[in-house]
Symmetry: C2
């Protein structure tokens, strides 16, 4: 891929891009208004700071990894400052920043801009949480506008692949509709569930279980970042939120008696969960869950995984169902369905209480 | 505790009660209209089938573990058929079945009934998914009505403790308000998020990530069971659903511009997540997350846990952030905050990429 690369914004995603590119021996320069962040990113090996003038070659690719509200202005400045560079950004929303950018630069400069969006993140933020493997095997949406230079598109695709991601090409509008549904709306519903806990008597929270934790986990995300994301993707979100309100009204009208409308919403929920691709991209039904009881002592999980490993079965995912004060945890191991019986047998033979 | 015990309904919870009681050497009899279920439950060691007539003593405790809509009628029949027995149920809602039961039996019989609700379950169902450790360390709500016999309350508390659970005593109305907020409402919001996926173009789902999976996991639950739970707890849920609709309207009105109302909802979401008790009942800030990159090969998780185990640090929870096709997973280990640095150091020394 082209180099040197300039990463502007050394938070979680920008620093992770730097780490991934450095691992591929690409020359990377880092910039961030927050000197603390950029020093941490550099110290973690994500690239160099302040050495841009010493580069024998001009910057060929700029990765804009700043908060959503600043993407357009920073991308415009980068297109102007680096006339030989392709400019991309990694923001969660694509149509609105593109529109803003179109008003800031001429058509020739705009041809060098191709937006993108790696589908990777974390509840954590900042350069400390970064890892060069953040994008490995993830989708990375490459989102060209109609006037984009094919060479610029190729450069951004190469960036995504060098970071280990799989390229998914979409138009800006299509991308924003997709993330509204699979990311922004679920975030808002998680927030709505968590927000209702604020007024609960403390005693009520003592009945919290794993389901509540799962539903509300993402609601812990940074409100100022999310306000920007929501504002930028408001058109796509609005239609979905209206659909949610219709379903909510059906629930409000029907839960007393269990109407056909309530039943329909619950069934659409089940159907919706089945549409989510399984991990590794395979169909969900090809996986099976093996449940194992694990005493809550240091070393027990190690022993379980050692025993599972010796069975030759690859554990694809797992969950510890483990609630306040519970001395024994229940671990769910997700494995290929064809291998589940073999795993149960192997674990049982080693003294574990395991079943499908 | 009193015995023999009769468990009516050998699904996940009833069978798990049988297994837990048998592990404590309590005599258990099983009954279910579904002969297949009762045979599976008995074969797993949850109790005996059809031997009630041979018992030298009358049944002293009946555990009603049937679907919510049948709790009152089955409990009434049990109070009549077993005049020496205390009767409890394990249903998710308490006020409405109590009211129905009050209309079915006389006051003297009603004194022998004490509702309860173990806060344990699973996305899975049926006797195969049962385990005697399902309730270990979990809250078990004991929910007496004003006319309950103190000896009956004691018998149900002993049941919960014998199953390894922690007794939490609440009134029926208080219980129903609590579970509306920490269980039923989050379930409905998970359903609403999942339901919007049904109409999505398949390409959009290719951008699914871990956040979507977490938010929508519980939406896969059995719609017919949930219709009954929602109907039985409609009064408590209705107020919460109206609160959600108010928040939703604030989002709809404000996401374009990012109003103070939107900001307030997002912040209440963050605050809500902080109110959920941490696992082990400790405060959440006493825990820390250590992130480790793990290659997706058999045995790597085993090696990680063996190395973590040798550090002497107890891993309290974990999450694999692992998306479609991704060759390398990121494992988050939740440990006591005071032990996190020690774990990072120990894992790094063994060649892992680990950080807080």
């Amino acid at each position: 891929m082209v180099q040197p690369v300039l990463v502007i914004g050394t938070g979680l995603v920008g620093t992770s891009v730097g780490l991934a590119l450095r691992a591929a021996a690409v020359r990377v320069h880092l910039r961030d208004d927050d000197q603390n962040a950029v020093v941490v990113a550099a110290s973690r090996g994500a690239g160099e700071v302040g050495a841009l003038d010493e580069e024998p070659e001009p910057v060929r690719l700029v990765v804009v990894a700043v908060p959503p509200a600043h993407v357009a202005e920073v991308a415009a400045a980068a297109l102007t400052a680096h006339p030989d560079a392709v400019v991309t950004d990694v923001g969660s929303v694509k149509a609105e920043p593109l529109e803003a950018l179109t008003g800031l630069v001429d058509r020739a400069s705009l041809a060098r801009y191709v937006g993108s969006h790696p589908m990777a993140g974390s509840e954590q933020s900042g350069p400390w949480a970064a890892t060069g493997e953040l994008f490995a095997g993830r989708a990375w949406a490459v989102v060209p506008h109609p006037g984009a230079d094919p060479a610029a598109i190729g450069a951004v695709e190469a960036l995504a692949r060098t970071c280990g991601a799989d390229v998914v090409t979409m138009s800006p509008d299509e991308h924003d509709l997709a993330v509204a549904r699979v990311s922004h709306l679920p975030h808002l519903l998680s927030v709505l569930a968590a927000a209702q806990l604020v007024d609960a008597p403390a005693g009520h929270l003592s009945l919290s279980g794993q389901g509540l934790r799962d539903v509300t986990r993402v609601a812990g995300g940074d409100p100022s970042l999310w306000t920007q994301i929501l504002a930028a993707n408001a058109p796509a979100l609005q239609g979905l939120l209206r659909g949610v309100r219709d379903d909510l009204d059906a629930l409000l009208a029907g839960i007393h008696t269990g109407t056909a409308e309530v039943d329909a919403v619950l069934h659409r929920g089940v159907d919706g969960t089945r549409r989510i691709p399984a991990k590794h991209g395979g169909p969900s039904h090809a996986e099976a869950v093996v449940v194992v009881s694990v005493p809550d002592r240091p070393g027990e999980l190690a022993r379980l995984f050692a025993d599972a490993g010796q069975s030759g079965v690859n554990v694809e995912d797992l969950r510890i169902d483990h609630d306040p004060g519970r001395p024994v945890g229940q671990v769910e191991l997700v494995v290929q369905a064809a291998a589940a019986d073999r795993l149960v047998e192997a674990l049982s033979a080693r003294g574990w209480t395991a079943h499908r």
